[in-house]
């Protein structure tokens, strides 16, 4: 019985190894902004972990508030693919389920880049992504992704 369980676990782990990688082109189309999060640069891996709800607080003691493009945002598909390896619809379902579990707080979904920029600039602890954004970004908000 115990050996069968161990074999089952090993098979499960082997089957579950999958890579989630996206090209540099998609990453170049986004800019990450954060307000008093205590970090000016972040790895792609860390950013993905944050946006998947795995971090609740920054080193600055501010609570993490995720600002995501809503399904009406023209760049929503890029965000869902880069950050979640999902379609927009799957990303919405992911967050509906996460909030229902009660293990993380809900993100804020905004319609456009201007609204994302506004709410991040007004909310300490907020982190958001701008997609294909050509406007000015206050330097204190910009987070470099490595």
């Amino acid at each position: 019985m115990a050996s069968n369980i161990i074999k089952y676990l090993i098979v499960m782990l082997v089957v579950s190894v999958s890579a989630h990688s996206f090209g540099q082109k998609e990453w170049d189309s986004i800019k990450v902004i954060g307000n008093n999060i205590g970090e000016k640069s972040m790895s792609q891996k860390s950013l993905i972990e944050v946006f998947r709800g795995q971090k609740n607080y920054w080193e600055t003691n501010e609570g993490v508030l995720l600002i995501l493009p809503s399904d009406k945002h023209p760049g929503a598909g890029i965000a869902s693919a880069i950050l979640y390896d999902m379609s927009i619809s799957e990303m919405q379902k992911f967050w509906l389920a996460m909030v229902f579990q009660g293990r993380t707080n809900p993100p804020v979904f905004e319609l456009n880049n201007a609204d994302i920029l506004t709410i991040v600039s007004e909310t300490p602890g907020a982190i958001g992504i701008l997609i294909n954004y050509q406007g000015q970004i206050p330097p204190e908000l910009l987070i470099n992704i490595q």
Binding site: I5, V15, S16, D85, S89, A97, F100, G102, R103
Partner: protein, 353 residues
């Protein structure tokens, strides 16, 4: 009277809108409707009917930087009321995050004994199959009212823990006779995105083998034995939900001890495998084996196997429909021959708004 109700309703709506505008409160509704066709193989009888499922009001509120509230109130079937439906508070808990990814929770919660009870709660929209594993109708302690220490996403393996003390299986939401608390310790890891492996241990001492509001075992509870029961449950869950393949394995061993018959072992193992051949289309298989020990005085004896073949179609993230054919059989451990096999076809429409 009608005007007063209208004003009250408008006031509540206004509060909700204001709260939503401040982006601190999220309100959702969940529910489901089912259609059943049951065929009892030996008696050759058929039941066919529609069934209105649970209607669930869900509230998540961020009170301040550290404190949040989660409430889930369900209106569901209750044969003891005139309307056959009654509201039930399923979750009402405050969460204080005292340190990054470490929290203290206080209130009524779903007992995190396994993946299903910790993740899906009452949201049929998220269920991979139409029904819960059979242990939910027999020995699983669904809720606990008490206090919990919780950690999550710790270290490279995304380790998580839950340690909980609260009113146990015999209690109500406002009272528990004696001084018996239930105890739970659970842990899990998430080594890969979409994968969670967990285990838990639960203990409760039942003074009179009665049940309160924290178990769903109303139809399977042994109502004839009223002596003390030491109740233990060990559960293991393995979940892997990836783009194509979905696997969920839930196994629980329930050990009860009575002065009359000593130790009794009961178990349930449930396995779901789904394949997303398109984003919204998931055919699936499910097997569910339940056995209640011969000398178990907590639950009525049962020993049955359930196989299902199903198909889930998602209209969008907020609505899906599941079609499921089920075959119930007596298990090889059923020495009483007291179970009537049946075949069932179910359709479940579930939604979240």
């Amino acid at each position: 009277m009608t005007l007063a109700r209208l004003l009250t309703f408008l006031a509540l709506v206004s509060v909700s809108v204001i709260a939503s505008a401040q982006k601190k409160v999220q309100i959702n509704g969940f529910g489901h409707i089912e259609s059943h066709l049951e065929y009892f193989n030996e008696e050759e009888t058929i039941n066919s009917y529609f069934s209105l499922g649970e209607q669930d009001l869900f509230i998540n509120a961020i009170i301040n930087k550290r404190l949040s509230f989660l409430g889930e109130t369900v209106v569901k079937f209750d044969s003891e009321t005139a309307a056959n439906f009654a509201p039930s508070i399923e979750r009402a808990r405050f969460k204080y995050e005292y340190r990054n990814n470490h929290s203290i929770l206080l209130g009524k919660m779903h007992t995190p004994v396994n993946y299903w009870n910790d993740v899906y709660h009452h949201g049929r929209l998220f269920f991979p199959t139409i029904d819960r594993p059979q242990m939910f109708s027999y020995f699983l302690p669904v809720h606990t009212l008490g206090i919990r220490a919780q950690g999550q996403n710790l270290g490279k393996l995304n380790f998580g823990y839950d340690v909980q003390v609260g009113n146990g299986i015999e209690s109500s939401d406002v009272f528990d006779a004696g001084a018996n608390y239930s105890f739970l310790a659970a842990m899990h890891i998430k080594p890969q995105y979409g994968t969670r492996i967990g285990a838990s241990y639960y203990y409760d001492h039942l003074s009179t083998n009665s049940y309160g509001v924290h178990a769903h075992s109303h139809g399977s509870h042994n109502t004839e034995y009223r002596g003390p029961v030491d109740f233990q449950m060990i559960a293991v869950s393995i979940a892997r939900f990836e783009k194509k393949i979905e696997v969920l394995s839930e196994t629980a061993l329930n050990i009860t001890r009575t002065d009359t018959l000593g130790y009794a072992n009961s178990f349930n193992t449930y396995l779901y495998v789904g394949y997303n051949f398109k984003e919204n289309h998931t055919p699936y298989l499910m097997g569910d084996l339940l056995h209640i020990g011969e000398n178990d005085l907590h639950s009525d004896h049962a020993s049955k196997i359930k196989f299902s073949l199903g198909y889930k179609y998602e209209f969008d993230p907020f609505a899906n429909i599941k079609f499921q054919v089920e075959q119930y059989l007596s298990s090889p451990w059923n020495h009483h021959g007291d179970y009537t096999p049946k075949t069932e076809f179910k359709i479940q429409f579930s939604y979240g708004i």
